[in-house]
């Protein structure tokens, strides 16, 4: 019988990789609780105090390395609070809003610090922070976001191959694309011009392993000096499959599904006017994500690349990506009442059984975070014996959330949103200043807005599916798998910027079965 805690086999052939792996396993396994994990505690108070110290007293000098990521420090801290269930007082919110507004660049977008250049990553962090602390109206911050300039900033970064630079003179990187798409979705800045070529670009970033690398090389297909795009020229991925990039590419891909439905030929269509539908290999993606989960001796934490070490932050980037892959494969969705249309897989009458559960090991991931990820002095970390930091505190907590809660798209909610959708209001609140060229064009743009929003806002936790290692006291709040904000925050921001009154998430009597 195989010992569940067997080390990674080395086949009598050690290399630098296996030596490091063995040493790490020997360390992590000392954190396996001998009495089992039923009593292990999430030290919420210590983590809350860790975050609060940073917020109130500020960050120690070694955080100078994050001086160009100030809104990230704010978002990691504030979203960490949100997940741990802590609110903020009005004074702190006001100070945060003022700080964030000082990061807005005069030419649009947000920067890593006042006086720094605008950049897509701090733009995402800032907008997410606004979702948490801001509100409409005077002093609320939301109305001070210059969306038109932000859109123009986005367009100024657009490349011929569909991708975007992260900043002027900056690199192309799928993280930037994710940040841009998330913000454009949150702030009602979605246009066909913005999204043109993005799906095709993303497909070129998938590697032979099934995950995604950071970018691809466009040069042969988009030669400068010639007008034509050569579809036969290779656009090789740059960089191996990696957890952070895989999350960003996959979340981007999910966000783009409505755009793809509207602006590309459908699967069985042979169209002269619509471009061929781009595809990714979703089965290979799912395989790669699940392959990244470590062995029991590594407490089931996730690694970010093949043959590298597990790290707490990949609890979110890869652990949190599995559900996205499931939805793309049509196996992750709410179990609605039989009268609702499902994906046509005949799932209507399935009871609650193992078939409805996540495709990664939720229990083990929680064990990794709780037993190895927590630092005894507060905060969470990569792995023992490393110190805690703000980044790992957020992503370990978000990963814990993703393992505790099954947050999935709900067809019932999506339909309700579509039924209640006010297209004219949404169009009136569009922040890009673009105009439609014709009635048909306007209709498609309206549909792009409505369908993207309805999909994003339809994600919700499925009743009765939560799992809490160590007991319900360890519960952290659910987070949106695409945006990494609570649904309260993403609902609030999007309702405002799309001019919609969202139907209640909890209509009386309409609970799904337990």
């Amino acid at each position: 019988m195989v010992d569940i805690y067997s080390p990674t086999p080395t086949d009598g052939y050690t290399t630098a990789t296996s030596t490091l792996q063995t040493a790490t396993e020997n360390l992590i396994k000392t954190h396996i609780p001998p009495a089992g994990t039923s009593q292990v505690e999430l030290q919420k108070r210590y983590h809350f105090e860790f975050l609060l110290r940073n917020l109130r007293q500020g960050f120690p000098e070694r955080y100078v390395s994050q001086d160009a990521s100030q809104p990230w420090l704010i978002y990691w801290t504030l979203h960490g609070f949100s997940l741990l269930g802590a609110g903020l007082d009005d004074l702190t919110k006001k100070r945060t809003i003022d700080t964030l507004l000082a990061l807005q660049h005069p030419d649009g977008g947000f920067s890593g610090g006042p006086g720094q250049a605008a950049h897509l990553l701090p733009t995402y962090a800032s907008v997410c922070a606004f979702a948490i602390v801001g509100r409409p109206g005077e002093g609320g911050g939301w109305d001070s976001i210059d969306r038109k300039k932000m859109y123009d900033f986005f367009m100024s970064l657009k490349q011929p191959d569909g991708s975007f630079l992260v900043s002027h003179h900056g690199e192309v990187d799928v993280r930037g694309i994710y940040c841009l798409l998330a913000v454009a979705t949150l702030l009602n800045l979605l246009t066909p011009e913005l999204l043109a070529g993005v799906p095709d670009f993303l497909t070129t970033c998938q590697t032979y392993e099934g995950g995604f690398g950071n970018a691809s090389f466009p040069g042969w297909a988009f030669s400068t000096g010639t007008a034509a795009y050569d579809p036969t020229a290779p656009r090789p991925p740059l960089g191996e499959a990696h957890g952070g990039y895989t999350f960003c590419a996959t979340a981007s891909w999910v966000l783009l599904q409505s755009y793809i439905d509207l602006y590309y030929a459908s699967r069985d269509q042979n169209s002269a006017s619509l471009p061929k539908r781009p595809t990714i290999n979703t089965r290979a993606l799912l395989r790669w994500c699940t392959q990244m989960q470590g062995l029991p001796i590594e407490l089931g934490g996730f690694r970010g690349r093949t043959n590298k070490l597990v790290d707490g932050c990949y609890s979110w980037w890869v652990g949190g990506c599995v559900v996205l892959a499931e939805t793309l494969l049509g196996v992750g969705a709410h179990h609605e009442s039989p009268t609702e249309e499902t994906s046509g897989e005949g799932e209507e009458h399935k009871g609650w059984d193992d078939a409805d559960d996540a495709l990664f090991n939720r229990q083990a991931l929680q064990e990794y975070i709780l037993c190895a990820g927590q630092h005894s002095a507060g905060g969470l970390r990569d792995k023992p014996p490393k110190p805690a930091d703000a980044y790992h505190t957020l992503y370990c907590t978000a990963g814990l959330s993703a393992a505790q809660h099954r947050v999935l798209p709900s067809e019932a909610r999506r339909s309700a949103l579509i039924s209640a959708w006010d297209a004219e209001e949404a169009r009136a609140k569009d922040g890009t200043g673009s105009a439609a060229a014709s009635d048909a064009d306007r209709e498609r743009r309206d549909a792009l807005r409505a369908q993207t929003c309805a999909h994003v806002l339809s994600w919700s936790e499925e009743d009765g599916t939560a799992v809490y290692v160590g007991g319900a006291a360890n519960r952290v709040n659910a987070t949106h798998p695409l945006l990494n904000l609570t649904v309260t925050h993403s609902d609030g921001l999007m309702a405002y910027f799309y001019g919609q009154t969202l139907p209640s998430r909890y209509p009386a009597g309409a609970r799904t079965k337990r």
């Binding site: 019988m1 086949d11 100070r95 950071n214 042969w220 699940t290 193992d354």
Partner: protein, 331 residues
């Protein structure tokens, strides 16, 4: 003796700008005096748009304290171009910064901008050599590999740049067969980036790459990098997994074949005597073969997936159960 610009008469004409004016920022960082001073003056020269040699020195000072300061890098690049400075000299100056801060994006992106501006294959050749030194320190550095791949594709010189890359990947895999970055690089060079000079016979290339992957699997079977490469090659060339059934089967046994029974088959290298079998990736591969065969073979795939989920790869039990459901939709 103060290092601060505030005490330097050369900088007396510049108005330093504090980071936050009229704002009590949340979660401030506790900068060192030097860093605050340098960035206050940097904000000052960004505002006036100054691009001069003293500004160049200031950006270097900031970068050495915080290599992730992308605006300082941006301004440095613009200044180098505006002053028409020697970009090769800049590359050499940046070498020790690259080695010191190799995990920072901006260090590599800056070099990419310089290489693009210099537009010289000679410089690219030297750069590939420099990258070897960096990878010798950290054989899996993500940005370094991504940058190397960009360099090869951008300059695209078969004779001077691409020619030695497969050998380089092999060198690294000889040192550590589990280096996934090196495997990825091999795939990039041989398959993702068009056809290399000398690789025009694609059948021969396929045989060579399969032989290479099999040889490495035989050496250390429990190596997901090698199996992923093998699978990648088969999928890319649309070669059925079934073609490798004879190779894979010995790896699904409970132990390696005993020495006396060895029949040397160059096409199907056997597991090393020290191999720890059965190898999970081999079991998975065999199940994939059965699944693709369909019909009665599906049952055999299901058996393997059950073994994986219950015994051999329990952490992925949910995934293996999904594979069973997916392959047997009517049960």
């Amino acid at each position: 003796m103060s290092d601060l610009l505030a005490d330097d008469p050369e900088w007396a004409d510049v108005v330093p700008i504090a980071q936050y004016e009229n704002v009590n920022p949340i979660a401030p960082i506790f900068y060192s005096v030097e860093y605050k001073d340098a960035t206050d003056y940097f904000r000052g020269v960004v505002k006036t748009g100054e691009m001069s040699s003293r500004v160049l020195k200031l950006t270097e000072k900031i970068i050495r304290m915080n290599p992730a300061h992308y605006t300082a890098w941006q301004h440095r690049y613009k200044t180098l171009i505006a002053l028409k400075l020697d970009l090769e000299e800049e590359l050499r100056l940046m070498d020790d910064i690259a080695l010191q801060f190799m995990k920072t994006y901006q260090v590599w992106h800056h070099r990419r901008l310089l290489l693009t501006a210099l537009n010289s294959v000679d410089v690219a050749v030297l750069e590939l050599d420099f990258l070897r030194d960096v990878l010798a320190e950290d054989a899996k550095n993500y940005h370094t590999w991504s940058y190397r791949q960009w360099l090869l594709a951008h300059f695209n010189s078969e004779a001077r740049l691409w020619a030695r890359e497969r050998a380089y990947a092999e060198e690294l895999l000889a040192a550590d067969v589990r280096n996934n970055s090196a495997w990825h690089h091999r795939f990039f060079v041989v398959f993702s980036s068009g056809v290399r000079l000398g690789d025009e016979d694609r059948e021969q290339v396929l045989r060579r790459e399969l032989a290479y992957a099999k040889e490495k699997i035989a050496l250390a079977p429990n190596n997901p990098s090698a199996w992923n490469y093998l699978r990648g090659v088969l999928e890319f060339t649309k070669t059925p997994f079934g073609a490798l059934k004879s190779f894979v089967e010995p790896y699904t046994a409970d132990k390696p074949p005993s020495r006396g029974e060895e029949v040397v088959d160059l096409d199907n290298p056997l597991p090393t005597p020290d191999a720890e079998l059965p190898c999970v990736a081999a079991l998975e591969f065999l199940a994939d073969i059965y699944e693709k065969q369909g019909g009665d073979a599906i049952e055999k795939a299901v058996e393997i997936w059950k073994t994986l989920g219950n015994e051999r790869d329990v952490i992925r039990k949910k995934y293996w159960e999904y594979r069973i459901r997916d392959a047997t939709p009517n049960s």
